[in-house]
Amino acid sequence: MQTAEFTADILVIGGGAAGCFAAITLAEKYSNLSAILVDKANIKRSGCLAAGVNALNAYIVKGETPINYALYAENDAAGIARGDLLLSMSEKLNSVTAKAEKLGLVIQKNPDGSYAARGKRNIKINGENIKPLLAAGVHQAKNIQVLNHVNIVDYIKDNGKIIGAWGIDIVREEIVFITAKAVICATGGAAGLYRPNHTGFSRHKIWYSPFNTGAGYAMGLRAGAEMTSFEMRFIALRCKDTIAPTGTLAQGIGATQINVFGEEYQAAYGNTTSERVFAVVSENLAGRGPCYLKTTGITKEEEESLEKAYLNMAPAQTMRWLETGLTPSKSNVEVEGSEPYIVGGHTASGYWVDINRKTTLEGLFAAGDVAGGCPQKYVTGAFAEGEIAAKSAASFALYQTSVNLPEDVKKSVVKQIENFMENKNSENSLYDENSLEEAMQSAMDEYAGGIKTYYRYNETGLREAKAHIERIEKLSENLRAHDFYELMKIFELKERLLLCQVLIAHLQARKETRWHCFAENLDYPEKKAEFDKYINSVLENGKPKIILRPLISVKDAGGERV
């Protein structure tokens, strides 16, 4: 078995928005420190922004304030958000946007030089090349080494402190050990836990990147980190089939949602993110579906601009319009909800961190979708957290002595990999990682609030889901890999199975319905004051242990409405 060892002052795991921004911050402000940025693919197009992004959804436009942004996010989350984290993120939204523009991001401007707003909190950009721009920024830095195609599997822990991580290089087919004085986790959220809208040939035509498998959450849990709010799942309201964004139509051209009778229904349900999904589900259940974004009647110019905008972020939608001839001026765009995800850039799920984005584990910091408590952060919020985490990790690393890879860790990792590559039990195994993934998604869909049950669940169902996940986890022990790509798929499945287990425990713990669709418990259909609490968890002896923590509101954190 081939191995490779690397060391640096700081290790950044994941080269998406948060990870690249952390690396760029380290290059700018801490050029005396060395850093390694590691990604499972290539940072040029890795992660959820591979195709591009349609707008910057978190920006403080003229007349708005960071406090207002934090209050908006807190309200959208029905209070389950950390005021301190929201404020520290919101305060940085505009400075990180200016930095992104310096990296080359095209942002539309008003005649006075200010950025052109799209609604109250958004600005217009051309985000097709956001990843290549970030990657170019990282590659310019002399103190940053980039390791592409290395899928990190677990942290390396020594004396209770995180001192690095190990993974597998998919291209070179070798085990990679990286030690560092401080580690920043920026691996993104988790897709693929639930059965998707399309289950066959287009099983990966989903909202979030199917290659974001929740590795960071799983690694953290296994190392003993505390996580928060997994039960606050995210379900995206998308264009039917193509799963393309709807915001460009809703906020961009002001398209309203209508049911099959042409009635506008949104006002009857409220307008938070979860209520917008719930509105579509409810209209469909009442026999008033399908539901659409009303685009008919828009001008030829508007239509052409939309076609271009979608090519910059979700080419499938433009292709569908052009191929069918049913362009948005002629045909309304049908909408549907995606399957649920765990993603801290939209909801509050993720690592329990302090205001410096330090996790509960010594030496470990978190930023972006993997970091919890700070919903509605989107791309610019991920930048902001990357910057904060980089500064905190650098300050920490400055006072650490050099670290060494413990020999026993190396031995046990090599043994583990050899076992997966030569697992004798699998000679007669009936199952592979594909069939077990499907079984997991099926169990979650049926019993833990997937698309099939309109995102609803009850206690009996959650117990069924738990039993299935435990069964599948046992079966996964016998999986065998023929190459390092298959090995990665096995690790991804195991990450997801652990997350399903912890997610179910979180759903069981919140005995109320605080958010429609995101966590809709039919046994407890009302919101309850006793659950004005964060539901957190740690793994103890392999099982999730739930911890309730009191809320820290925006007001508690010093923010008053302005």
């Binding site: 693919a41 290539n42 349609n54 399309h198 040939f201 199917p210 961009g252 910059n312 499938a316 069918t324």
Partner: protein, 103 residues
Amino acid sequence: MSVFIKKDKCIGCKKCVEVCPGNLFVVRGKKAEIRDERDCWGCTACVKECPQNAISYYLAADLGGGGSLLYATEDETSINWVLQSPEGKETTVTVNKNQSNEY
């Protein structure tokens, strides 16, 4: 959702292997292959990266596809997206890289 590789155009340069966010490409016998068509997310990173225009994107039948292929060529200022219908008709949409989305 997936990509179609025109084998006669592929030169085995591995740029798709390098850039795919899912590590889905392999080059065998100097020709690119996708490990499993079902695993493509449809981000079109490979379509834009391929110097030979050998990789096209297509809408799967379950997503309402009608058999057209989409590829892209890129220069300093623009991305030209070319849609080829099954009958061979080509429609080009040019997106200016220096211009923001209008919406």
